[in-house]
């Protein structure tokens, strides 16, 4: 089992013929993801690696019944691509593109909600349900099927932690990168709720960072609603205030947004927080065994 994507995922790739889109489409096919369609305006009627290409998302959905879309289009066109997917009634939209103007996202967010779709990202590595489906750019070989759910605002830091989990024999149900932008479609609470409801997930790792208050909301949710153990890590303890640390959303912009604030909020909710990435595995093991003992 898993959350958001599984063996029933029928993937559409928006921007399938671009540099990133073509590379990661090959990787996804190799991993076993069912890539059913691609969209590149002007290239409708052709194919890529045997996948039919359409001019519009609407045509692609009618012809292939795609139920998930992944977006690799350039930043200034990403908002339109997301809304096109939502308008075509695709329920799961994953936007990998980095650098989408935040004002664009203020329009995209309510549009996606109105159309009943879930958006993951933008500026995210996507998600993977090991052994079942891979949507986005998380390298398949560092993951393995297992009982851990993982949700993160980061890309490579996620790989670092997933790699350690896998090496320690702790496979994953689903790893979700929700992205580092200030306005994104899916937050920690959404993923925690899904992991809590997923029978195969036994424990959750959440990787947060400076900026915003999503981690605090997650802490409140864990305290009130979660029975499964959660372990945290927060990046950006050394980040100077007021500076954007690479991710558009990683900026300490006011009260409660520092790494220390977030670590305190998680710990106050009973969530152990690793001081070093290498400590995550130990904390997960500890919490899993104590939960079983209860």
């Amino acid at each position: 089992m898993s959350i958001y994507i599984d063996t029933g995922t029928r993937l559409l790739v928006q921007g399938i013929t671009g540099r990133d889109g073509s590379f990661h489409t090959r990787q996804a096919i190799e991993y076993g993801t069912r890539v059913v369609a691609g969209v590149t305006p002007g290239k409708g009627g052709t194919t890529f690696e045997g996948v039919p290409i359409f001019n519009t998302v609407e045509e692609a959905v009618l012809a292939t019944h795609a139920n998930t879309s992944v977006i690799y289009v350039p930043p200034l066109f990403a908002a339109d691509a997301i809304m096109e997917a939502a308008a075509a009634a695709i329920p799961m939209i994953v936007c990998i593109t980095e650098g989408v103007p935040v004002l664009d996202m203020t329009r995209v967010y309510p549009y996606v909600k109105e159309h009943g779709a879930r958006l993951i990202g933008p500026n995210c590595p996507g998600l993977i349900s090991p052994g079942a489906s891979k949507v986005g750019i998380i390298p398949g070989r560092i993951c393995a099927p297992g009982p851990i759910g993982l949700v993160s605002r980061s890309g490579t830091l996620t790989y670092e932690v997933v790699n350690q989990l896998t090496k320690a024999g702790l496979g994953q149900t689903t790893c979700v990168g929700i992205g580092g932008d200030p306005i994104n479609g899916t937050n920690f609470v959404d993923c925690l709720e899904a992991f809590q409801a997923d029978p195969a997930t036994e424990a959750v790792v959440m990787i947060g960072e400076i900026g915003g208050s999503d981690e605090q909301d997650a802490a409140d949710f864990v305290r009130a609603k979660m029975t499964k153990p959660v372990v945290g890590f927060i990046a950006g303890r050394t980040a100077p205030p007021g500076r954007r640390m690479g991710h558009a959303g990683a900026i300490v912009g006011g009260a409660g947004q520092t790494a220390a604030d977030k670590v305190n909020a998680l710990r106050a909710a009973g969530i152990p927080v690793a001081d070093r990435p290498v400590d995550v595995v130990g904390l997960v093991r500890e919490r899993m065994s104590s939960t079983v003992a209860k």
Binding site: V100, G155, E160, T238
Partner: protein
């Protein structure tokens, strides 16, 4: 992207908001000439991308053109929060009856543009929020409809009792929203919005921050960037498509991915060291990026050791290894390198480095410990 006060005021003026006249001077003599043209008392204001200009001595009144020249000379010699002042704005001093605050930000919690207004203007809005939060009114704008007239008017009435002023303020709110949208801003602030003795409103100080992501759409806005007001290493990094932030420590960091870069800096500090920078070489890194990254880091004389932390997902670690070798060929750094790489094409990377007599580690924790040790020993 930060823009200067005088540039923000130009954008506000273009959208119809009343702004006092003002001209920019780069020399004391120019400031004197401008003050002479305006006549009467002027304010000379440092144009620099830093808050707290007033407290740092960067904003001064001048009662005569001679005095304007003198204070301009002092201000142009200032460095405020590490940034040298190259320009001053000379503007007639406003007569102030009342000061209000009007701000518009992109708010991540409500996921909308959010107005924040307060009748207690002229000071930091953070102070008002902390001491008298009831004096701040917040209004998120639905992007589908924009700022509706009744919303603008309700903000106006929160600031002023008189209908005429409330209406004038409402007009300014609508104009500010338009300026914010067309500039692709993430913040626009009028502080103070001044009531003059005749009852009219005027934006005496203004600040705008532009979202870099949208700059490609509006070349006119992109042209407002003032590179003389930025750290040279950060300009070099931007041109090389790297994200770089200079810090005070001695462990230079080259990392792929922002989250891993932050975690690497944190780990340096955990082991008792101090990071010299944040640097993200991004996802699909070509060797050229690594060469540029090394140039930028070694330009900092404080750096005693350079730590590479590369987790190859999309990034191919052999690309990074080639970049390191090329950089060493061009200009061998005088400080030791600690290289941690793992992931995609790791075996090739290790071979490439070994051929140059370099060894690579695979464990992040061990590599950071090693870098901190070398930084402390140097």
């Amino acid at each position: 992207m930060n823009i200067h006060e005088y540039q923000a005021k130009e954008l506000l003026r273009a959208s119809g908001i009343p702004v006092p006249p003002g001209e920019v001077a780069t020399t004391p003599e120019q400031a004197e000439a401008i003050a002479k043209r305006f006549g009467g008392t002027v304010v000379v204001k440092a144009q620099v991308h830093a808050g707290g200009r007033g407290k740092a001595g960067g904003v001064k009144l001048a009662k005569s053109p001679t005095e304007a020249r003198e204070v301009a000379a002092k201000i142009l010699a200032l460095t405020i929060k590490g940034l040298p002042v190259h320009k001053v704005l000379v503007t007639p001093a406003a007569e102030i009856v009342h000061e209000a605050y009007v701000g518009l930000i992109l708010d991540r919690v409500c996921k909308r543009a959010l107005f924040m207004v307060s009748p207690a203007g002229g000071i930091d809005i953070e102070e008002v929020a902390a001491s008298t939060p009831e004096k701040i009114r917040r209004l998120p704008v639905d992007p589908r409809y924009g700022l509706l007239p009744f919303e603008a008017l309700s903000l106006g009435y929160f600031l002023y009792k008189e209908a005429s002023k409330a209406r004038a303020a409402a007009r300014i709110m609508a104009q500010l929203y338009n300026a914010f949208q067309s500039a692709g801003a993430s913040l626009a602030e009028i502080n103070p919005l001044v009531t003059q003795p005749d009852g009219s409103l005027i934006a005496v100080d203004a600040k705008m921050v532009i979202d870099d992501n949208g700059l490609e759409r509006s070349p006119a806005i992109a042209a407002l960037r003032d590179e003389s007001s930025e750290d040279p290493s950060e300009i070099a990094a931007r041109k090389a498509n790297l994200t770089f932030i200079k810090l005070d420590g001695n462990v230079g960091c080259v990392v792929n991915g922002a989250g891993l870069a932050m975690a690497t800096m944190d780990l340096v500090q955990y082991y008792g060291g101090q990071p010299a920078n944040f640097l993200d070489i991004g996802g699909s890194s070509n060797p050229e990026k690594v060469v540029n990254a090394l140039k930028i880091i070694t330009a900092d004389p404080k750096v005693r050791v350079i730590l590479f932390n590369i987790f190859g997902g999309i990034t191919r670690t052999d690309d990074v290894a080639n970049g390191i070798v090329q950089a060493l060929d061009q200009s061998p750094p005088t400080v030791p390198l600690v290289i941690r790489l793992t992931g995609t094409n790791e075996e090739q990377a290790v071979k490439i480095l070994a051929a140059r007599g370099l060894s690579a580690m695979t464990d992040m924790d061990a590599a950071v410990r090693q870098a901190v040790k070398l930084g402390a020993a140097a």
